[in-house]
Structures are given as structure tokens and as C-alpha cells.
Amino acid sequence: MKLESKIPAGPLAEKWARHKFSLKLVNPANKRKYEIIVVGTGLAGASAAASLAELGYNVKAFCFQDSPRRAHSIAAQGGINAAKNYQNDGDSVFRLFYDTIKGGDYRAREANVHRLAEVSVNIIDQCVAQGVPFAREYGGTLANRSFGGAQVSRTFYARGQTGQQLLLGAYSALSRQVANGKVKLYPRTEMLDLVVEGGKARGIITRNLITGKIESHSAHAVLLCTGGYGNVFYLSTNAMGSNVTAAWRAHKKGALFGNPCFTQIHPTCIPVSGHYQSKLTLMSESLRNDGRVWAPKSKEDAVRIQKGEIKPTDLAEDARDYFLERRYPAFGNLVPRDVASRNAKYVCDEGRGVSKTGLAVYLDFADAIKRDGRKTIEAKYGNLFEMYEKITGENPYELPMMIYPAVHYTMGGLWVDYNLMTTIPGLYALGEANFSDHGANRLGASALMQGLADGYFVIPYTVGDYLATIGPADKIPVDSPAFKEAEQKVHAQVNQLLSIKGERPVDDLHKELGHIMWEYCGMSRTAEGLKLAKQKIQALKKEFWTNVKVLGDSEEMNQALEQAARVADFIELGELMVDDALNREESCGGHFREEHQTPDGEALRDDENFAYVAAWEYQGENQPELLNKEILEFENVKLTQRSYK
């Protein structure tokens, strides 16, 4: 398949402005003749649905949660980046662009990233206008902080609940359009298939989670704003319901999947406590601004701490290894997420980890408290410290926090062109669900920025171009054969899951998949391990389809049935991630192949052979997928080895 990224011509800083002018417009009176489906109501989905409805389109918005306000964007803590340069510290659109491209280890498109940096400033204006209570200075201006690897203070925040406040802003805009009759909401409704006819996306098949009813919805365009697939690892910081099903089923209908192996492991999460663990909780990395990361210098001390014989506070300063400060004097504790995570893993692999499991390092605030006083620290991080204490039962004002990396974000996703359209005309992917802007590693406080950029400021322009091209008559009714056939397939899968009546609960199989992915396709990967993982996943797929146990029936609220369908898709995705990781014979960003590292253990890119987006094309059940390459061209930045020393 020929991949057309549709990157506009012209100088980088003018591409988006020129492109907006070249896009076709839909006459205001004609907008009401179009239907748009938006799946997912997180930052990307809610902002897109609200903005498109404001323009006059008829929108149907779907979410599996009981309310659009609960989408997992709500859990983002730290902040949102914008190139406002309010702090007069040298920030600019170009600098935000440059930091994002570099942070992504040169595996993102220049044009997309520059557009993201450009619209970042509009996002802050929009959110403030909606009443989002960002943190302020005493004089009333907006406050900023520096965040995760940035050397300027460009992050806007609302305590440790920035995602919540931004989502509630988008949700309020969405609610206003529901009241105006321009958006129809479908909560507790899950998309189970995409309908493609005549080469275009025509609508979706959904299951009402309360009644179990399978329904068809037709539209001129379908927007997937369905988030990431971190739950393929079972344990992640994602919500329990976060899943890949909508994106995966679109993939099986022809949408290419970009860079599936690019996953982000977040360095500051609360460590695992036992086998019953259902999810991992992130501690915002803003904590790294004041906390110092360390582990005992000697294995012996680590073991004594693991056994509970001594406390971390008993360890003298010279018995501690502040390993990030030692290895990266320039950035210290603020190195990007992938670097911080990998270093924590190395320390634990050396046997210097702490906690009962030996899988944790310290994040210590003692110096910050001494320097700024407890009150200041409490004002900055009070709710995070509280959250930590609730989960672990330990007081982080007295004992250093324990942290360990956990899966947090997926940079990969459906391949989209500059207009955010997938390889299926009429099907778009926004936010974390697409692959586009973060390359091989996402910088802190950039996810919220991208979700809202796509929804508020990109899709309202680009979707119009497609709609104006096809015209209002180009839509098919829900009783047409394409819909009926897709409905039949969904019914058949639901019935199949219920009829297996095996021995193993869904969660049990999901946990097994998670172990395989974490072990072989996690922070550090090898060809040998990935090959083994592929075999294991294939075996697990067989086991799933012969031995899963789903009780109850399809015509009722049935959470195990919902979960079973999601895990079935995660298993298939897992295999593709392994293929992608195996294909990418280099290390870049979150993807670290042990075979490819510099003598001092840093990621070693291969720009000559791998400066491309791997876009995978589905070839049918149990067939190897076909690799398509979109070559990345860099005209404005020079590819260098990322150095945070």
C-alpha cells in the first residue's frame, strides 16, 4: 500500500496555515446534513464532538463508561505543555517543536509536531475560557512549572488533577451541545466493529452494555478517539476498561497500525505489592522536580532494606547512589521517562532494588523539605503524597517514596495522515489512539496537549475537507447489507465467547498475556526473547479460544463478556507488537533492543535504516501482517544522539 502522509509543501512554520487555506469548506447551511460518529469521550473525543457540534454537524458520541466525564484522560496528573513563553525563559513554538521531536528520538513527523506546538497556545486560551481552574500566581496570571526533561517552564497545571480539569472542561462543552441537540450521547455503549463499504468508513456496530443489544449506526465519517492500548500488559496505569478493541477492529477492516511496539514505561509509579494487583498507580513525574532518585550503593544494604532490617533513613549519604544525578549531571532527576525507567531497571537488576520485592527505588524529598519547608512541598504535592500514603500505608514526609516503572502510554496507534485520516477514507484517529506526534517516546505533559490539539483545533478543519468532497448523499442506511453482515459477525463472536465454557476466567488469561509482554516486550527487548514471546502468545491465543470461561448470557449486563472480547483483541495486538519490536533492529526512545546500545548503555538509533514509521497491514486471521514504511524526512532538525549528560 502506498502511504500518503499528505504533508503540505512550504516552510515548516507555514505548513499548517497554508494547509488550512487549501482545505475545502462545508457551507454552514450544509453542515447539518452530515452525521459524524465520535467513539470515546476523553480529551480528544469530547473536544472533537463538542467542536464539530458547535460548527453545526450532527454528532453521535459513544463511550463505554457510564458518563463521558469518566474517560481515562481524567487521571492525567501533571500538566499540559504550551509554548506561551509567559515565563520569559526562552520558550517558543520552535523550541516546543524541537524538544518534542528530540524527546521522541526522531521518530515523529516534523510537520505534525510543529502544528502541535503551534496550536498548543490556543488550547490554554480555550480551556481558561471554559473555566478550567489552572494554578495562578498571586497577581492573577497563570502559573507554570518545568516538567519531565524540559529546560523551560511551559507546563500549565491544576494541582495534581490537570487531566481531570481539562476533561471536565471538554465535557462541559460537550454537555452544552447535548443540550443544544447537536450531540446524541451513547454512554455504556461499546464499539465492536467498523463498517466499511465501497472503500469508505460508513458507520459502526455497537453493543449496549446494559441490555446487550447489538446496534448499527451510520455516518459520513467515524472518529476513533479511543485512547491507548497499555492494558495489553495487564498491569498498567490505564483504567481497567481502557482497551484496543475499537482501534483493533478498524485495523482488521483495513486501517494500518503504526509503530505498535512504541510503548512508554513511566518511571514514577507505586511498585507492585502482590499477585492480586489489578492496576498500577502513577505518581506524577512533577515529583521529580523536587524528589531525588536513589538506591543503596551496595547490594548488602539493599538486601537489609528488603528484609526490613534497616530503614532507608538509616543509610548515610555516602552509602546512597543518586544514580540519575550521577549518570546525567546536566538533567539529573529530570531525564526523559524512558531514560529514567531503564536506569531504575538496571539498578534493580544489579540487586540494589528496595521494597520486599526488590523491584523499587527511592524518590526522596528529605532535601526538598529541608530546603523549602514542609509547607511548600505540601502545597505542591499534597494530594500526591496523600494518595501514596493511602495505597502504601507509608508517610512520604518521613520515609522516601518507593517507585518503580510501569506501562503508562502507547505512542503507537492507528496510522494517520496529516489530516488525521487513517488508511480507510472517512475513518479518523485522534489523541492517543493514533500514532502520530510523539515518535518513540512522549515527553511529560504532551499527551493532554495532543488530545486537545487534535480535537479542538485540527479535526474541525480537516474533516470538513473530506465531507465537502464526498457530499451529504454519500452515506448508506443501517439496513444495507454491509451493516447487516457486520452485525452478524459481532453476534457470532459474542455467542462464540459464551459457548466455549472452558476453565479459565478472562482475567487469568489476561494476566498471562501481561506477563509475556512485560517480560519480553517491556523496558528492554532482545531478538531471542521476542521470538519466544511470539510462540507464547500464539499458544495463549489457542488456549483463550478453547478454554476461556464466560458465564451469563449476551442479553444482559455482562462484564466478563465485555472483558473477554477486549482480551481477545489484546492477544492479537500483542503478537503484532512483538513483530514490530523484532523488526525494528535499533533502539530508540521507549523501544530498547539490548543488541543495539552504545558502550555506556544508551539507546543506539539506526537512522540510515530505521528512520521510518512501521505501518502494519492486516492480512487475515493468523496470517503474518505486511510491513509498509513511511520514510521520515527531517529538514529542520539535525538528527543527533539524544544526550542528557
Binding site: A75, G139, T141, S175, Y276, K279, T281, E503, L551
Partner: protein
Amino acid sequence: MKINLKVWRQKNNNTAGKLVDYQLDNVSEDMSFLEMFDVLNDSLTRKGEDPVTFDHDCREGICGMCSMYINGRAHGPQTGATTCQLHMRSFNDGDTIVVEPWRARAFPVIKDLMVDRSAFDRIIQSGGYVSVNTGSARDANEILIPRTVADEAMDAAACIGCGACVAACKNASAMLFVSAKVSQLAILPQGHSEHKERAERMVAQMDAEGFGACSFTGACSVECPKSISLDHIARMNREYLGAKLSSENVQG
């Protein structure tokens, strides 16, 4: 530790429910309350019994989805926490724990411990927003908001919409939820131009949904996982009264 559970089981909204006894023998004190339910559901599934349906999603206290009424308290014995943030170390070996769904006429039971809270969405739709279209905002720093005002708005905006306030109230009143939004937008200059209509409309919708009246006992604020203050109810009452006295847009 050993835990005895009495869990509300109800097939759907058309059938009667009842409390059913379960016993768990190997509960770790580091488990969250919902992980304890995962363990229960795993054992029920293996035995061929229907697992317990309950709402949950983020499991870190922010999405507002989880909603269990535990030993007569919304979200259980801890204050300032959701059910998913409750850990078994808050209980003792051998304890009996009664777990029910939120009980309120405006929150009908869907199944077991899961209820329908869409009434909250409809209340927000009735006016819980600032009417500003995408693209028509001015520069963010042109609106100066003193830190103390922003902080107070943030206190109100922290509401997660879980419905614990309704469940905790003997009248099943939604005043704390509604007032949190009314108050946030009344404090901020951005929300000012619509403040009268907002108070009127949101209160009218709250009544239409069948929530009870507020008798200001304060149970809602105590059980609120985000400790939303009663001050916001006072502010909403003031907003509502002011609106009723001076509004040109008088509604029922």
C-alpha cells in the same frame, strides 16, 4: 485475613434483590477493596456462579466510577477516599462487611452494585458550562484571577461526580454535587455572565430528576471523597435566591 461479605445481588432493575453471604479466606491487607472483589469474582467464576457486577475504572480515585456503600457508609470507613482507594488494612481479620449499591430513587439499580447515574449528566447539560465556542477565546492571561479565587474554584471543581453525596444523604439530595459546579463557575469571572440562569436551570433539573431536598446535615461533605465543602451549598443557595429575585428568565 478472613472476611465475611454480605453483598447485594440483584439481576436487573425489574427483579428484587437480596444480600448474599460470601466468605474469603486469603485476603491480604495490602489489597484494595476492589481487588478483594476481583478475588471473589475469580472464585465465583471458577465455581460457575455469576460474578458480582460493580462499577470501577481508573482505580486511583479520580474517575468517580466506583460506588459501593460499605457498612452503611458511602465508599466505606475512610474519609476523603473512593472505594478503589480503600485498602483491606482498614478492616480486621474476621470482619463482616455489608456491601450495597448507592440507594436513591434518582439512581436506579442496573445490576448488583451498579447504578444508573445519568441524572448527573443531565444536570450538567442543563447549565454546568461556560458558553464559549472553540476558537473564540482571548489570550489566557488577559483574564486575571487572584490565586485565592482560583484555589477556591479548584476546590469546587475537584468533584468527581461519583454520587457519594447522594448516597450518604438521608433525603438523597444532590445539593453538594450541583453546588460544586454552580459555585466553581460563579466564583470565576468566565462563568459570571450566565450565573443566574445557571443556578436556576441546574436546580430545576436536579428537582426534575427526583433528588430529595437538602436539610443541611452535612453528611454529604463528610462522605465526599474529595471533601467538597458545604460552603458551596451556601453559595449556591445565595446564587439561586439572587437569580430568582432578579432574573428575567423565571422558570418553575
